[in-house]
């Protein structure tokens, strides 16, 4: 009975994190972007610096009518947001937050193959955007969908390779194991892997500057063109959840997770802090860099990231064997 309760509690906790963390990231994006662009951003909703802006947005989305275009492939169209969202929820299950006041590791489910699990879940998640592009019955969406597919195929490889490098160094695929095995000098040894992983993750999430598939100026949001209301909100949520998952993975794999002072008790806080920092980097990248052209996207993947990742794997191999 205690076990079942434990599992239920963990699930609830993950669900709570899933519902709150992306909102926090979204709010941070609003405010950070605004200040970077010398404006104040949302101020009205909720009073203090517009803290309830995203809640208000959510209420607005819920109120909106969900429209399905006539030309759309109805089932695919309607299923796409869920396919985009759910895998990140599942992925979050396996991402550890670290020791919680000496009460053991705060994690949904510790898996022997945690890294694989998360990567697999993320790779399923991108299918959602693809389905949106295919099912909308809109040529902008179609082109956007094709760009998504090309981008996913290109960036999956360097991302997995970079993750594999860390797994090799740690000698395990368990995320907790990797974070435990982390040592500070990995920051230097795994730096190329860190960069590759982060950049490839950005591309997988189609975050700027890799948002050529969405490209609101030319493709009118690409696969998301026809979506409105709650379904669009789910896509948005999936995007921010994706940022959280990416930031969490980056933290656990490359930044030592809960490594820090008093980590036995405050490990979870360290992890959250690092996740916030990485998320801020993601937002910063959006503001700082212009959108890459489609050919630049693929060139970056195949000509820079893949060789870099392979070099990282080689280096790690040498280090591990030595």
């Amino acid at each position: 009975m205690g076990e079942l309760l434990d599992a239920l509690l963990r699930c609830l906790l993950v669900l709570g994190a899933f519902l709150t963390l992306p909102l926090l990231v979204g709010q941070m994006e609003h405010k950070a972007m605004a200040h970077m662009q010398s404006r104040v951003g949302p101020m009205a909703a909720g009073g203090f610096h517009g803290w309830a802006q995203l809640v208000a947005d959510g209420i607005k989305f819920v109120q909106k009518e969900s429209i399905t275009p006539v030309a759309a492939d109805r089932r695919v169209f309607e299923l796409a947001p869920a396919v985009a969202l759910v895998p990140y929820l599942v992925a979050m299950l396996a991402i550890p937050l670290g020791p919680f006041f000496g009460q053991g590791n705060l994690i949904g489910q510790d898996l022997d193959l945690g890294l694989f699990f998360v990567l697999a879940a993320m790779s399923v998640g991108v299918l959602g955007t693809l389905m949106g592009g295919l099912g909308s019955g809109n040529k902008y969406s179609y082109i956007g969908g094709m760009r998504v597919a090309a981008q996913l195929m290109s960036y999956e490889l360097p991302m997995v390779l970079a993750a594999a490098s860390v797994a090799m160094a740690a000698g395990t695929l368990s995320l907790i194991g990797i974070a435990d095995a982390w040592e500070p000098w990995w920051l230097l040894a795994q730096l190329p892997g860190l960069i590759v992983f982060f950049v490839a993750g950005l591309a997988e999430l189609q975050r700027p500057p890799f948002d050529a598939p969405l490209a609101d100026a030319e493709l009118v949001m690409g696969p998301l063109t026809e979506y409105g209301g709650m379904r669009f909100a789910m896509f948005l949520l999936a995007e921010y959840a994706g940022i959280v998952v990416l930031a969490g993975l980056t933290t656990v794999l490359f930044l030592g997770g809960w490594a820090g002072p008093w980590s036995d008790h405050l490990g979870w806080a360290w992890t959250l802090l690092k996740i916030a920092g990485v998320s801020f980097l993601v937002i910063w990248a959006r503001v700082a860099y212009p959108r890459l052209r489609e050919d630049q996207v693929n060139a970056l993947a195949w000509k820079v990231l893949v060789p870099l990742a392979l070099a990282q794997v080689t280096l790690t191999t040498v280090l591990v064997v030595w």
Binding site: D73, R75, V76, D112, L113, F116, F117, L119, A120, A121, S123, V124, V126, L127, L130, M131, L134, G135, Y142, G145, M146, A149, A150, L152, M153, E156, V160, T172, L173
Partner: protein, 165 residues
């Protein structure tokens, strides 16, 4: 009937049904998406059969790469005139052959392995699989890398020769 068996049967029905839908669906994209369901269900079966590592590899490679690749190919080769049927004229022969093959194989299996049970004594973890892979199976592994390289070069050559024209 244990919980594992029940889940397995459900997954099996899902896998077979979605496979059938995938192969008979009139819309190409639906076929690919039904295939995703089939592959996912098969991955679930793998998990139930103590092959966790294989399961996640299946999801990662098939769902993450192969299906995306297939969908990409489908999008690239979308035909403007959809006048032709999606199945050929010999569909009934094909169906008969498929049924015969399935029944024949099934009958063979039933004849040969009735009453056997999977006990799940050895879990296929990353460690055990890796141990096997890089000790006893290292030579096939290396050969496979050669095969993959050949396939990679072949795919590049075929694509290039097409685009040069």
């Amino acid at each position: 009937m244990s919980l594992t068996e029940l889940v397995f049967l459900v997954l099996a029905v899902v896998a077979a049904g979605s496979a059938l839908l995938s192969m008979t669906s009139g819309q190409l994209v639906h076929s690919a998406l039904w295939l995703v369901v089939t592959l996912g269900a098969v991955a679930g079966c793998f998990v139930l059969m103590t092959a966790e590592f294989v399961a996640w590899v299946q999801v990662l490679v098939y769902v993450g790469s192969v299906v995306v690749l297939v969908i990409f190919a489908l999008m690239l080769t979308r035909q403007t005139s959809a006048t032709t049927a999606e199945v050929t004229g010999n569909r009934w022969i094909a169906a008969a052959l498929g049924v015969v093959a399935a029944i024949g194989l099934g009958a063979t299996m039933v004849a040969g392995f009735r009453g056997e049970d999977i006990e799940g004594r050895r879990i296929g973890t990353a460690g055990s699989i890796g141990q096997a892979l890089f000790t006893d199976w290292v030579l096939p592994f290396e050969i496979l890398s050669g095969v993959l390289l050949a396939a990679l070069i072949g795919a590049i050559v075929i694509s290039r020769s097409g685009s040069d024209r």
